[in-house]
């Protein structure tokens, strides 16, 4: 008798357990949301995609796009952000994140198009990104009115960026070349102080050795040292010119790095979405 009761209870437990569908859309969504909130975007995308055909919604599509953006699959992110319908409340947010998508892959013409084609949405955030990218890439500076789109702290940063781009601290390769007539002076001009000093010492040393050998009638050695002195001297002139080009390129790269760092810290002026509260 006890055995029969035991078997019945076991059967009921098994039946009950089997009835609970772990793969129901609701459970998949809950699991996907959990993965999304744990920043496990790749697996979250897989789970969301299982729901795409049955219970697709704008929120779900946005989350897939956002996840793709986080794992730097920019083409897919663009595809999903574009899928959100115009009537959706998430549309302007999707357009803003799509702008960010284009900004990150440095596709500035698409960034402009994205802004132009969706001008009916609330795109202040996109406009800020567009203004910054115009300053960075095209040296097109915003009007005073446009600068007031930014918050106070951001405005300071943008003004600073405009000044750096308008009046860049470049070094002229021509000036560097002319200055390096005095060995090392061109490099000192491009702030390579130790290279300048080394150049001066090497050219001076080999010139002295050449002079000294010629004076003591060691002509062969004199010619060798003359060749070296000439090489170091001309190398110093050419090196100074290249050094000025390098200085300018590093200056530009530094501005770009600083701007991207600042924007990253500010979430690229785009409102943060919080689906996890």
């Amino acid at each position: 008798m006890f055995k029969i009761i035991y078997c019945v209870i076991c059967s009921f437990i098994i039946l009950y357990a089997q009835n609970n569908s772990y793969h129901s859309p609701e459970n998949i969504r809950l699991f996907a949301d959990y993965l999304f909130c744990q920043n496990d975007y790749l697996r979250a995308i897989e789970e969301y995609k299982r729901l795409e055909n049955s219970t697709a919604s704008d929120t779900l599509i946005f989350k897939i796009g956002y996840s793709y953006l986080q794992i730097k699959q920019h083409n897919y992110a663009n595809k999903y952000f574009d899928m959100i319908e115009r009537s959706s409340s998430l549309k302007s947010l999707a357009v803003n994140y799509n702008s960010l998508n284009f900004f990150l892959i440095k596709d500035f013409s698409s960034l402009k198009n994205n802004y132009r084609l969706n001008s009916d949405s609330d795109l202040n955030d996109s406009k800020k990104l567009l203004l910054v990218s115009s300053i960075l890439n095209e040296n097109i500076f915003p009007s005073d009115e446009q600068i007031f789109l930014f918050d106070d702290s951001d405005r300071l940063f943008v003004n600073d960026l405009i000044i750096k781009k308008k009046y860049p601290d470049y070094k002229s390769p021509t000036v560097a070349g002319i200055l390096s007539v005095i060995p090392g002076a061109g490099k000192v001009y491009t702030k390579n102080y130790t290279d300048g000093l080394t150049s001066f010492l090497l050219t001076g040393l080999f010139t002295f050795l050449a002079y000294d050998n010629f004076r003591n009638s060691h002509h062969f050695r004199g010619y060798i040292f003359s060749f070296a002195a000439t090489g170091f001297y001309l190398g110093n002139i050419y090196g100074s010119i290249i050094s000025a080009y390098r200085y300018n390129r590093n200056y530009d790269e530094k501005i770009i790095t600083e701007t991207y760092d600042y924007l990253k810290q500010k979430n690229y002026f785009i409102k943060k979405v919080n689906f996890c509260e």
Binding site: P173, N192, T194, D195, L197, T198, S199, L202, G231, F232, L234, G235, N236, I237, Y238, G239, I241, I242, Y245, R246, R249
Partner: protein, 143 residues
């Protein structure tokens, strides 16, 4: 008399070199370990392997001669990657011979400057300083 004085050591020197280099592979200077896992470096070095073959053949010969007669005795001392001689060879593949010579002397200046270490990327305790970083001038004037 003078000829005999120099001839004997020269023959000995050549024999030593030939017997030591029977496989004609240098004892040192295999740099693959430096570039295997670094795509930036790999692409830079690939982009530098361009045309200008005639000039680079001459410079290759000169550098090979230098490596066999001097570098192998002196050791693998250059603190840069590519080494100064390789820098020159690579440079001839991108630039003209005259520019390459100027860049080579400029590199020697940087090599002598012991205070410049902070500005280079370090790979296996060597400073990465390829010739492609110093070729803007020609590229920009060609555009």
């Amino acid at each position: 008399m003078i000829r005999n004085k120099f001839l004997f050591p020269l023959v000995i020197f050549c024999l030593v070199q030939i017997s030591a280099q029977t496989d004609w592979v240098r004892w040192e200077g295999v740099n693959n370990y430096l570039i295997e896992n670094n795509n930036d470096i790999k692409s830079n070095e690939l982009s530098s392997s361009l045309n200008n073959t005639r000039i680079s053949n001459i410079s290759d010969l000169l550098v090979k001669f230098y490596k066999i007669t001097i570098s192998d005795f002196d050791g693998d001392n250059c603190r840069f990657h590519p080494s100064c001689s390789e820098f020159f060879v690579e440079s001839t593949r991108i630039n003209s011979l005259f520019t390459s010579v100027l860049l080579f002397f400029d590199r020697l200046t940087r090599d002598t400057n012991i205070f410049s270490s902070g500005r280079y990327k370090t790979i296996n305790n060597r400073f990465y300083d390829p010739p492609s970083d110093y070729s803007y001038y020609e590229k920009e004037s060609n555009q």
